[in-house]
Symmetry: C2
Subunit: 377 residues, 2 copies
């Protein structure tokens, strides 16, 4: 069983600092997990993550199942060996991708039939099959197959969707108990229910009864205003037990993450830092900047001297701008390293401040600075 | 003045092992210089080159003059600081790029008027201006402005082109003597003359009279058969003094490089290893491979275990293939690192074998193996 301890609880908020123990190491929380959908975080080599001290990355069951395929992953003895990564991996179940990449997917209680976005071939995922796939992948933390309805769905559709998610959660847990060695792999439940608190409550209590190793808050950051996201998040962490890790899926901006940490969330993943890096938007300890802006043309200051990261300290803003303007691939790599190093710094600083009971002042200052200083994006 | 010593001359061939001393360090020859046209070698960060022990890289005067522009390079105190590179830089003069990227460039004895391939703006390069630009760049080794006629040119056109190159060479040397501190920067002449030995001879003796720090063989690898390239190269190194470094511009395949080393060439540059890497063609110590080939799908052997390079030893052929098939940017980075590490290994091994007087047997074996083994490209 996945061990989790809360080391410090903030007296000023619901924020907490903890430790997650997987078979592959200890993960300090709050933690941000870089997204390596296809077994690689976009624009960098896994070597950077390994050297820069990331303890856990995220990969995607749906994508890996389609390519390279389970025969390859099995031959290599699991995803860790395939991608040369020795720390923890959490795999998303792929539910979200199936529904967002396949408009023609057919869902019934048994599972979902979908067409590959690569070659159009037909496939079927059941809750049980998703557990089986994640067993082959060797995920340290697996996620259940869930159904995430669009933000704009009517209440009755969300109720139907939640019934499916609940049914699948039960079957996932049964399959996990049957197939998996819980000393090696663990399973998180995913709560849904749209923006309706009564449905969220139902979903959460149902998951708690099934006893998962951790609990994810799914179906947020799907287009709703940030205030509603925080409200559902706050409501959810009030119900969730303090003794288990909480994971807010697909979130978000530095501000979102800090506010969710305040609300008691421990784990995060998001494509934002890597995707924005490739568009030239940098997150730095001094604020957000758009590196393509002409004002950086002559700027010989380091990208971010406050981060302990080669690219951040050794390359200048002016050089990185030149690489972007010239269409050099190195631009994407250096910007991605900067943004990931920043996200790592962000959660590590948050952790320190929680332990020192100074989280709230620090958070509010940082968000304010982040908005004011060099905010040219 | 650029110091160069020949440490070992092969008794079996014209191959030699030497040392080049610039203000920024010692360069063992034969040497391959990775091409960083715009101040970055494509698909990698300069950190890789710095860590992997490259002593010299090549950049391009024409490209850097247009972007980021000399005002930026001057503000940063030269190219080395701008790109965060502490070892030597050789800059090509840009002549080749002006003629290949600008079909409408206008040449007369004074220089060449051309339009920027970026924004169409009009510019003028004279031999003197090219020296001035390379002074601002801070090139350890500068190249003169030359004119490289197409391979298919008639003899009378090549004669005219050579007259221009000779005139420009003289003016380049005068400008260099007037403007440059020869303790810090040095200047190479470039020989031309198409595939005509009498014109090559004229060109070489003219350059020798002007006394450059080193001599480049230009206008080869422009479409002619390899045998003709070797013949002109052989003919040229017979004329060139043994005491000066010889640079064969824009060459080439591993086989080309080994054969040219045999003919007494010391320095090389080529986009081949980096460009081919981005297309999935790898050079390894076991031969050439096309990593996209289906036969590597399940191959868990390292990309190249004989190279002392992280990517080569830690990532498998199967994983690299997956990255290419999935369109991941990391594929380009890892493949580029492999090919550059291979080219470095190739020239370093050649050097060792020259010193041990075993170059010829080693070269012939390597070329044979290279053609036979795993040759699926």
């Amino acid at each position: 069983m996945l061990r989790f301890i809360v080391e410090n609880e903030s007296t000023e908020s619901k924020a907490r600092a903890g430790k997650l123990f997987t078979a592959r190491g200890i993960i300090n929380t709050p933690v941000f997990m870089p997204v390596g959908t296809q077994g690689a975080v976009k624009a960098i080599s896994n070597r950077f993550l390994q050297e820069h001290g990331f303890d856990i990355i995220l990969a995607n069951t749906y994508h890996l199942y389609l390519r390279p395929g389970m025969d390859v992953i099995r031959k290599f003895g699991g995803l860790h060996k395939f991608i040369n990564w020795s720390y923890s991996i959490l795999t998303d179940s792929g539910g979200y991708q199936i529904f967002s990449l396949n408009e023609l997917s057919e869902i019934d209680e048994s599972g979902v039939t979908f067409k590959s976005h690569i070659d159009g071939s037909k496939h079927f995922f059941s809750p049980e099959k998703v557990i089986e796939i994640q067993k082959i992948i060797g995920s340290d933390i697996m996620m259940i197959l869930d159904h995430c309805p669009p933000y704009t769905s009517e209440r009755n559709l969300i109720i139907k969707s939640l019934e499916l998610t609940r049914n699948w959660a039960e079957r996932s847990k049964i399959a996990f108990n049957k197939m998996i060695n819980p000393e090696i792999q663990s399973l998180f439940g995913i709560s849904q229910g749209g923006m309706y608190k009564d449905l969220r409550e139902q979903s959460l209590y149902h998951l708690l009864k099934l006893e998962f190793d951790g609990y994810a808050i799914g179906g947020l950051s799907v287009g709703e205003p940030a205030e509603i996201m925080y409200e559902i998040c706050d409501f959810s962490t009030d119900i969730l037990p303090k003794t288990k890790p909480r994971y807010l899926m697909g979130v978000g901006t530095p501000e979102n993450i800090l506010n969710a940490i305040m609300l008691g969330v421990d784990m995060f993943d998001c494509v934002l830092p890597t995707r924005n890096a490739r568009n030239g938007q940098l997150f730095t300890t001094k604020g957000k900047i758009n590196i393509k802006n002409a004002k950086y043309k002559f700027d010989d200051s380091p990208i971010d001297e406050n981060l302990d990261n080669y690219s951040s300290r050794e390359y200048s803003l002016g050089y990185l701008r030149h690489l972007f303007m010239s269409g050099e691939i190195a631009a994407l790599q250096i910007a991605t390293e900067q943004n990931l190093a920043f996200y790592k710094w962000l959660t590590e600083e948050a952790r320190k401040k929680i332990i020192d009971n100074q989280f709230m002042v620090w958070k509010d200052n940082l968000i304010r600075n982040f908005v004011d200083y060099k905010n040219d994006v």
